[in-house]
């Protein structure tokens, strides 16, 4: 699992590459939270293009980030979601808490 960050205005863009499971989510959670605080970001935007596996641990991780972002008055969003990842996202009902966008551009415009 590798994690890259980019800051666009007050949105922290998180590029995840690899598999989202219980094992990798522990590290993702710590790394993302640290960067979010360090950069004093408001919104969190996840790039799901290179997520090649995800189970319900990924949902738990997203729900946890949602809670902290909401406290800071921000929003959380996803883009480049693959049909495989979409299956569990839809099942969990998490779309009620965070929007999915087709592209980074579209997501950043909506979050601005």
């Amino acid at each position: 699992m590798s994690i890259d960050f980019a800051m666009v205005n007050r949105t922290l863009v998180v590029n995840l590459e690899g598999e989202l499971d219980h094992h990798t989510c522990v590290e993702i959670r710590q790394t993302v939270d640290r960067e979010y605080q360090k950069k004093r970001a408001k919104n969190l935007l996840f790039d799901f293009a290179n997520i090649n596996f995800m189970d319900s641990s990924g949902i738990g991780m997203l729900m946890g980030r949602y809670r902290s972002v909401i406290i800071c008055g921000g929003e959380i969003a996803l883009y480049n979601v693959t049909p495989e990842a979409e299956k569990i996202l839809a099942m969990s009902g998490i779309h009620k808490l965070m929007k999915t966008y087709a592209s980074k551009q579209e997501a950043l415009e909506a979050l601005a």
């Binding site: 598999e19 219980h22 094992h23 319900s56 949902i59 738990g60 991780m61 729900m63 495989e84």
Partner: protein, 142 residues
């Protein structure tokens, strides 16, 4: 394509092995030439079952063993995920969507819901203090 086959693996309850377990099962099932979606569904179900054993059965301790028995016959895949951990007191409650006993960890409480949706059949056998066995079945090519 063989009509019938079986395999068995045993590994430590280390969370690193969640990935090993689902990939090993997927490699075995690949003998049946499943669709990408079928394979992904099975990987998700295995991942959820193994994660439950590690987090709940063994309280995140790496010092125990998890066993997976996998077999297929006439396109029907059966998978058993067995742990020897603390067991489940109330199976019905544990299987309720959004129910979780992990207060400190960020758990969605969707493990059993995912297993039920991805597989055709799921049975849970558990006894407090004596571990948990999850039996799942899925017909391929339906």
């Amino acid at each position: 394509m063989p009509k019938r086959n079986s395999m068995q693996i045993q590994f430590s309850s280390n969370s690193l092995n969640e990935s090993f377990a689902r990939v090993a099962v997927a490699a075995f099932i690949s003998q049946l030439d499943p669709t990408v979606e079928e394979l992904y569904d099975i990987k998700m179900a295995v991942s959820e079952a193994v994660t439950n054993s590690i987090i709940h059965g063994y309280d995140n301790s790496e010092d125990y063993e998890i066993c997976i028995k996998c077999a297929y016959e006439d396109g029907v895949v059966s998978i058993e995920v067995i742990d020897y951990g603390k067991g489940i007191a109330d199976i019905e409650e544990a299987m309720t969507a959004l129910y979780t006993t992990s207060a400190d960890e960020e758990r969605a409480g969707l493990g059993f819901t995912v297993m039920q949706s991805m597989m055709d059949e799921i049975q849970v056998f558990s006894e407090v203090g004596n571990g948990t066995t999850i039996k799942m079945k899925k017909s391929l090519g339906v």
